[in-house]
Amino acid sequence: MTPEQIYNVTQGSYLAAAALFIFSLRWLSRPETARRGVLAGVLGMVAAIVGTLVHPDIAHYEWIAVGVVVGTVIGVPLSRVALTAVPQRTALSHAFGGLAAGLVGTAKYALWLADGELTAFRMGAIAVEIILGFLTFTGSLMAAGKLQEVIPTRPITYRNQNFINLTLLAIAVGAGLWLVIDPLRWELFPVIVGLSLLFGVLLIIPIGGADMPTVISLLNSYAGLSAVAMGFVLENKVLIIAGALDGSSGFILSVIMCRAMNRSSPTCCSARSARCRRPPRPASRRR
């Protein structure tokens, strides 16, 4: 095939993937069509993967094969957990998604740094991607740990919690901005990664076990936004579309679940405002 034909195949399958993801979400919101929704999601994912694999940049398949085999070996048992353990499984699975986004951002930074191709825009998108990716990674691990009761489920709080957390995030964002201005300061990169990992942990520890499903859905939304940032980094539209669908539907879903639990204010859904959800929570202590 000529390069142009390959390009058309890739973009065509991305287009199909995007449409299938939209159908998948729509079908899954009604019980009669829900199973068709899963099928559409699977087909969409297959289309996106096939479209990517024919890409001329992909020259070697051996490490991809290794990754796929390892992922399948871990993924299949993970899907056979007891149904009561589904929330922790979802959280754990998020952690993997966040990790993937963070690692891709790191790898792309290293490559572009070596080739001297870091523009301000690329750097900014990478910073957003790794902050969201790595905070989703540790945040989801913490959420899974709390649900599995590996770590104490009660909210852990300390003085000036919000202030400290936001300061950490602000430092990470500030370091990201500095890198945008001066991309060659690579020593700032591990700082951003470390702070994002830490922020993910601190974000979750003040939240009680009963609120976890809402938080997981919110973390899902962050993972989606991180995929969007990755799409801007790699100039890939299917990443942007699927990530944006995921980002907004995850956000709306957490708002809906908040309402279902009689938390009218959407601000309660933001994981960082732990204070407004702490006082009247006898239910979370009962767990």
């Binding site: 998948s24 979400l25 729509r26 899954l28 919101s29 019980p31 829900a34 199973r35 899963v38 999601g41 994912m45 996106a48 993967i49 990517t52 940049d57 992909i58 070697h60 398949y61 490490w63 991809i64 290794v66 990754g67 796929v68 992922g71 399948t72 993924g75 299949v76 993970l78 149904l83 589904v86 979802t90 699975s93 998020h94 998604g97 993937a100 986004a101 690692l103 891709v104 790898a107 290293a110 490559l111 859905s217 991180s226 995929a227 990755m230 799409g231 890939n236 299917v238 990443l239 579309i241 699927a242 990530g243 944006a244 669908l245 995921d246 539907s249 995850g250 709306i252 879903l253 809906i256």
Partner: protein
């Protein structure tokens, strides 16, 4: 040219965000958990980026990170879709008895 493409991506992002808000607005309450695990599986779209990084083999460092990223996102995809389907199968069995 590059600038134009950037704006096109920004428009795509904006439109897809609104679609995402809209498609699940009227989700049935029964389906909150399955929907959550489906969106989780879809967020594994990061596999696309992981495949590119792992397949380019530009440096040892990036290939190693890419391979781990492929493994992580494939885990996410496989378990996400399988468990959503499993949950929904349970629903189906219960429904006729209602």
């Amino acid at each position: 040219m590059a600038g134009l493409d950037l704006w096109a991506m920004a428009f795509v992002f904006m439109l897809a965000t609104f679609i995402g808000f809209d498609v699940i607005r009227n989700v049935s309450r029964l389906l909150h958990t399955p929907l959550m695990s489906l969106t989780n599986a879809i967020s594994a779209i990061a596999v696309v980026g992981s495949l590119i990084i792992a397949g380019e083999e530009k440096s040892t460092f990036s290939t190693a990170l890419g391979t781990v990223a492929v493994a992580a996102s494939v885990t996410n995809i496989v378990s996400g879709f399988l468990i959503t389907d499993r949950m929904l199968r349970m629903f189906k069995r219960r429904e006729p008895g209602k």
